[in-house]
């Protein structure tokens, strides 16, 4: 099956709603810069990081790990049958990481200094995990957009105009260098997704023992691979419904099961780690930490049980639900690590403010809207019509 633009009218009702949400976020972002973070967010001296970091950056990039996960599956484990799902995954990843990058720019207090990060090499603090995350995400964004270029150029291939000629010249070049780009596209997420885990290691004694671990990088890495596969399933199923395609249920089922295997690995590593370090007792103290720990566990383990035992009835809807659960579980783990487990001391509270929520929702809406636009106009999705 060849990828081709989905076509169809762009300005549907849902599209317009998404654009409206994005516009609302845009206005709020202008207000954030005019009034400062103190006036628009619920961030405080006790909680310097909030929704924009915990969701937009940390969870958002994990949900955008579809490209990474699919690349691993197709190019490393050589499962060519999943190839049609790579392009949409790369698009989701590119958009997701762009949103994450944009969220960083609006979250940091002195964004006019950000240009120094990649350029002030002699000032790089190589001990800083955050530096690694920042540079690696910057690089990965570039890589993702390069990986997307073939899809963009294919639309103009063979056309008699200037762009057509550029496309004709450039596509073969891409073909040759793509292997190096794709390998980077697997190296970089490995690095920064694990470093996102390392970030919270530095909060050390202020991180609740159920989440603090020297294995945080590994757990975040397994988590992001799991979430990547889950998102691919989610997005493929959703697209099929939205664009009237016939979903390849068998493939999606496989992907869901791969995600579930990752989930099982995650849970195993987590419990082992907690037991070895003697922190497992905290899971049985009747407090909110233990409560959310078990909620996470449920989100991780329920899909595993369902996907591996209900061999008879693998409806698409069921697969879809389990994929959501896995993504939610992974997201919840990250939220908990960054917001719940972080203990600045008694008396400090944090819940995102309405402007923070509006911005996050709007940015996600913008991402979805752009996704719809690209998928309709460019050859990304390869699917039969239902």
């Amino acid at each position: 099956m060849q990828a081709k633009p989905v076509g169809g009218p762009l300005f549907t009702r849902s599209f317009l709603i998404l654009v409206a949400l994005a516009a609302l976020a845009g206005l709020t972002i202008v207000w954030r810069f005019a009034a400062g973070l103190g006036a628009t967010t619920a961030l405080s001296d006790g909680y310097p990081w909030g929704l924009w970091i915990a969701f937009d950056v940390v969870t958002g990039t994990a949900l955008a790990c579809g490209g990474y996960a699919m690349a691993l599956l197709v190019y490393i484990f050589n499962k060519g049958k999943y190839h049609p799902l790579v392009r949409p995954a790369i698009l989701t990843s590119a958009l997701g990481y762009s949103i994450a990058g944009f969220s960083v720019v609006i979250d940091i207090g002195r964004p006019w200094m950000a240009w120094k990060l990649p350029l002030y090499i002699n000032h790089w603090n190589l001990n800083s995990a955050l530096l690694e995350v920042a540079l690696c995400i910057m690089a990965y964004c570039v890589v993702l957009y390069i990986e997307l270029m073939p899809a963009v150029l294919e639309k103009f291939k063979g056309q008699p105009n200037a762009i057509g000629r550029i496309a004709d010249k450039a596509l073969p070049i891409f073909d040759k260098v793509l292997i190096f780009i794709i390998a980077l596209g697997m190296l970089l997420p490995t690095m920064h997704q694990s470093s996102l885990g390392s970030l919270m290691m530095l909060t050390g004694p202020r991180l609740h023992p159920l989440w603090f671990s020297p294995l945080l990088p590994l757990l975040f890495l397994i988590g992001c691979v799991m979430m990547g596969f889950a998102i691919v399933v989610f997005e493929a199923a959703f697209s099929s419904k939205a664009f009237g395609h016939k979903p390849d249920v068998a493939i999606l089922r496989q992907l869901a099961k791969v995600s579930a295997w990752c989930s099982l690995l995650f849970v195993a590593v987590r419990f082992l780690d907690l037991s070895v370090r003697g922190s497992i007792g905290a899971a049985f103290v009747p407090d909110k930490y233990a409560f959310w720990f078990w909620v996470e566990f449920l989100c991780f383990i329920a899909p595993v049980v369902i996907l591996f035992t209900k061999t008879k009835h693998y409806s698409l809807g069921n697969i879809f639900r389990q994929a959501i659960l896995l993504a939610v579980g992974g997201a919840l783990y990250r939220f908990d690590a960054y917001l719940l487990a972080f203990q600045p001391g008694p008396g400090w509270h944090y819940f995102p403010s309405v402007p923070e929520i509006v911005v996050t929702v709007g940015l996600v809406a913008a991402e979805i809207a752009v996704y719809i636009f690209v998928v309709k106009k460019f050859p990304i999705v390869a699917a039969e019509h239902a």
């Binding site: 005019a34 400062g36 940091i108 002195r110 530096l131 292997i179 390998a183 530095l202």
Partner: protein
């Protein structure tokens, strides 16, 4: 399905190997030697038993640092609830059972500061006399330092459009002029004194020895979290003064050991890149062979 399971088991094995190697690598003893107090280290010794809560140090610090009053709670008073963007030094009242104690809070100027380890471009750095100070030219305002500091010291200027990071820098400009920090100069009871770190530590131990009943038998900051250049003596448990942590382990130790273990010399990433490239290359060759064969 069989190939899938094999693939997945391969993946499992790889991950298990990764986990094992990371666990080994993250043993602190292996990878990272602990930092020691710098030879020119200066610091403060705060003796809570001598403090009468006059807050002269709070006023003097605001004057010396040019900070405005925090009149958010009441426009009549400068009444910060703790360290914040307007307040680099504060006196709090701690309750401990039936007793109470004043406690002065400011930057601890740690020997192995978490904030310095966190800062991407080194805006926060440990410099002359071991003082941890902030360079605005290198700060993007990410607030990772605030997340990292176990004492919750670095404060971000939430109220400003061009925010800075605010924390005690031991009056470096005054030190350069041969003067003491403002807080120690003004303290009427010498409850907080300034000096060379070694001398202050000696003095602290002398006091513990000469009047053992008066103090909790510990100099807080001597070993805690890798050591701090601001030392505390108290007659109530340090926990009640707000010092929650008693471990000797410096805050950055675990993270930096793990990170260095993974990234040392950039060998790991390069090796991984090479491995990924090699596997992809082999897969591509195999698929062209298969298609040739078919």
């Amino acid at each position: 399905m069989a190939t899938d399971r094999r693939t997945l088991l391969k993946g499992f094995a790889a991950t298990a190997a990764a986990a094992a190697s990371m666990t080994v690598v993250s043993t602190p003893a292996l990878a990272r030697t602990r930092k020691t107090v710098p030879s020119d280290a200066a610091g403060l010794l705060y003796d809570a038993t001598k403090c009468v809560g006059c807050k002269a140090c709070v006023v003097a610090c605001k004057d010396a640092a040019g900070l405005p009053a925090d009149t958010r709670a009441s426009k009549l008073y400068d009444a910060p609830e703790g360290l914040n963007e307007f307040t680099k030094n504060v006196i709090q009242l701690a309750k401990s059972g039936n007793e109470s104690s004043y406690v002065k809070k400011q930057c601890m100027h740690c020997v192995d500061p978490a904030c310095v380890g966190a800062c991407m471009l080194g805006a926060l750095h440990k410099g002359q006399y071991g003082v941890v100070s902030w360079n605005g030219d290198l700060c993007v305002g990410c607030r990772y330092c605030s997340m990292a500091c176990a004492f919750n010291v670095p404060k971000f200027e939430w109220s400003k459009a061009a925010p800075k990071l605010v924390k005690c820098e031991l009056c470096q400009d005054r030190l350069a002029q041969g003067k003491q920090p403002a807080c120690t100069e003004v303290c009427p009871r010498n409850a907080v004194i300034f000096g060379q770190y070694d001398a202050l530590l000696d003095e602290a131990h002398k006091r513990l020895q000469s009047e053992p009943g008066k103090y909790v038998p510990k100099v807080y900051g001597e070993k805690e979290l890798g050591g701090t250049q601001v030392l505390y003596l108290s007659h109530v448990p340090f926990e009640d003064l707000g010092f929650r942590f008693n471990t000797d382990q410096p805050v950055p130790e675990v993270q930096q050991t793990v990170q260095h273990g993974i990234y040392k010399g950039f060998v790991g990433p390069i090796a991984l890149y090479a491995l990924l490239g090699a596997v992809m290359f082999r897969n591509r060759k195999k698929s062209t062979e298969d298609s040739d064969a078919s």
